[in-house]
Assembly symmetry: C2
Homo-oligomer: 315 residues x 2
C-alpha cells in the first residue's frame, strides 16, 4: 500500500492540484441543449470550415486548448504536459489538434472515461512533483464517431431507443500547483468491468456495472457517505445506464439517487431533442465538467463533486 493510498483504489493528494481554468467548445445540437449557456463557444456547423469531420474535431481540440490557456493567462511554453485522447482510431483528433503545441504529450485512450483519466493522471503528475501546469482534455464528434463506430450518416439509419448521441465538443481543464482551488482532492481509479453486454446500441448498460463498482469502492475506500457530496456525476451512462447504476448501487446498500446525475443525461434537452438515451462520448463529460460543473463550482453552488472515472466503452 503506497503512502497516498487509502483503501483499495483511492489515492488522497497531499498537495491537491487546483483547477485553474476550463474551456469548452461544442456543436450546434449541444448548443441548443439544457446546458447551452455554460459553454465558451458553439460552432456554427459540424464542419466548422474544415473539409472533414475529423479535421473539424482536431480544430475543436486546437481551439479549446487555445481558449483554456487564454482563460488561464498562460502560454504553451508554461505547460509541462498535455494529457489527451479521443475516440478516433490512433487518437488522431488529439494528435493532429495538438501537433503544433510543442508541449510534452501523453496520449490516452479511455474511451468515454478519457476526461476523468486525464484529470486523474494530470493530478498525480502535479501532486507527485512532476509538473506545475498540466492541461487535461478530450474531444468527440458526432459525425466522426458515427463514421467510425456505426453507419454512414448518409444512410439515415434508424437509431435504437437505447442508443446515445455522441457529443460534438471538446473540453479542457488547466490544472495547477497554485493553491487557488477548486481542488482535486482524491482519485478512485476504476477497473475494467465487462458483464458481457454485447449490444453496441446499449452502451449505458455496458458501462453501468463499472460505474457502480467504482462508486461503491470510492465510498468504501474513503469512509464517506453520499451526502458528503453536492453532486455525484457519471460521464455518459445516459438515461438507461443511469437507472441501472442507481439500481445496482441500491442492491449493494448505497442510495445516491438524490444527488446523482449523469453528464449524458444533463447535456441535451431529452424532452425536445431527438437524442434517445442521452449524450455520450468523451467530449460529453469533458464539456459538461469544463462548462456547467466548473462554473457552478466557481459560483459556490457546488462545493464537493464526485466526478466519476467511468469505464472504457467507446463513444
Amino acid at each position: 500500500m503506497s503512502e497516498k493510498h487509502i483503501g483499495k483504489q483511492t489515492v488522497l493528494f497531499k498537495n491537491p492540484p487546483s483547477i485553474k481554468a476550463t474551456a469548452s467548445i461544442v456543436g450546434t445540437k449541444e448548443g441548443k441543449g439544457s446546458l447551452k449557456h455554460s459553454f465558451d463557444y458553439i460552432i456554427p456547423d459540424e464542419l466548422w470550415g474544415e473539409d472533414s469531420w475529423e479535421k473539424a474535431e482536431s480544430k475543436l481540440v486546437r481551439e479549446t486548448l487555445a481558449k483554456v490557456l487564454q482563460k488561464g493567462s498562460m502560454s504553451n511554453d508554461q505547460i509541462d504536459y498535455i494529457l489527451a485522447g479521443d475516440l478516433l482510431n490512433q487518437c488522431i483528433a488529439a494528435n493532429y489538434g495538438l501537433r503544433e503545441t510543442d508541449i510534452p504529450f501523453f496520449g490516452l485512450f479511455g474511451a468515454c472515461s478519457t476526461m476523468a483519466e486525464s484529470l486523474s493522471l494530470g493530478s498525480m503528475l502535479i501532486d507527485g512533483g512532476f509538473a506545475d501546469s498540466v492541461v487535461c482534455m478530450t474531444s468527440s464528434h458526432f459525425c466522426s464517431a458515427e463514421r467510425q463506430f456505426r453507419y454512414p450518416l448518409e444512410l439515415g439509419s434508424q437509431r435504437a431507443p437505447t442508443s446515445q448521441w455522441t457529443v460534438t465538443g471538446s473540453g479542457a481543464a488547466l490544472l495547477s500547483s497554485e493553491q487557488t482551488g477548486p481542488y482535486i482532492k482524491a482519485v478512485t481509479t476504476g477497473k475494467i468491468n465487462d458483464m458481457g453486454i454485447a449490444d453496441a446500441n446499449n452502451m449505458g448498460a455496458a458501462m453501468a456495472p463499472a460505474a457502480a463498482d467504482t462508486i461503491l469502492t470510492h465510498f468504501a475506500d474513503t469512509g464517506l457517505s453520499p451526502d458528503y457530496y453536492d453532486l455525484i456525476l457519471t460521464g455518459d451512462l445516459g438515461k438507461i445506464g443511469k437507472k441501472i447504476c442507481i439500481d445496482l448501487l441500491k442492491m449493494n446498500g448505497l442510495d445516491i439517487e438524490n444527488r446523482y446525475n449523469d453528464c449524458g443525461v444533463m447535456i441535451f434537452n431529452t424532452q425536445e431533442q431527438d437524442i434517445h438515451a442521452g449524450g455520450s462520448g468523451c467530449g460529453c463529460s469533458a464539456t459538461v465538467f469544463a462548462g456547467h460543473v466548473y462554473k457552478e463550482m466557481m459560483k459556490g453552488n457546488l462545493k464537493r463533486v464526485l466526478f466519476y472515472l467511468s469505464p472504457q466503452e467507446p463513444s
Copy 2:
C-alpha cells in the same frame, strides 16, 4: 518549474522505482530473430489456439501479465495499477486481455511509444507515492496490425523497401517501490513532432525527427554526454529511421552512433529474415526491453540505458 523538473522536459525521480521483473512473449518470426533466446515464450503460430488474430493478441497480453506476475512473485491483488495500450482500434487487445484482472487500469495510446509512455507514467505513479507496484505493458501483432492499417494479408501485397514488420509480441515490466534495482532514474517526455512525412510505408522517416528532438532535449536537460550511457535505444525507427536519427543528431552536434541502437533493428535478423526496414509496433520495444535489454542489465552487461520515449506513429 516543478520540484522534480530539470531542464525543459525531464524529471528526475527522488525515489526511483525498480524494475522488479519483466516478461515477454513473441511470435514465430520474432522467435527466429537475433534476440530469440531472450524471450520467455515463443508462440507456436500467429493464432495461438484462438479464432482471430485480435483474440490471439489479447491472449498475448493476458499471458504476458501472468508471466510477469509469476516472475515477480506477486498476485493481481498486489498490483496498484496497470498502464497498457496497443495499436488496435479502441485498444481492444489490452482491454480484452486484461478485463479479468480486477486491477485498476489506465489505457494509453502512444502507438509505437506506448511502452515508454507506460514506463514513464508508471514510474511517476510510484515515485509520486501513488503506487507500490505497477505493471506497464503493451502488445502488437503483425496480422492484426496489417488488417487494421494496411491490406488484407490474403492479398499478398508487395511490401515497400521502406516498410517495417510489426512485431507479434507483448512485453511487460513490473515496477516496484522496493529498492532492488535496476532503477528508472529519469524521464524525458517527447512532443508531437510532425515533419509532414505522409508515406505510410516509411514510418522510420516519420518518427525520426521526434526521436532526435527528444534525445537532444534529454542531453540538454541533464547536461550528460552520450558516453554516460552504455546503450541509447529507440523503439522502432528501423534501419532507415535510425540512420535519419543519427544524421539529424550529428547536424545538431551530437554523435551517439557508437552506443546507439534501435529495437526495430535488433529484434530480427535483417540479413536472413524478410522484414525490409526492420521491426515496428509497440510490441517491438516492449519485448526487446523486457527480453534482451533487461536481461543484459541483470547480468551487469548494461549498466546505464537510455530507453527512448518515441513519438506517436502507428505500428
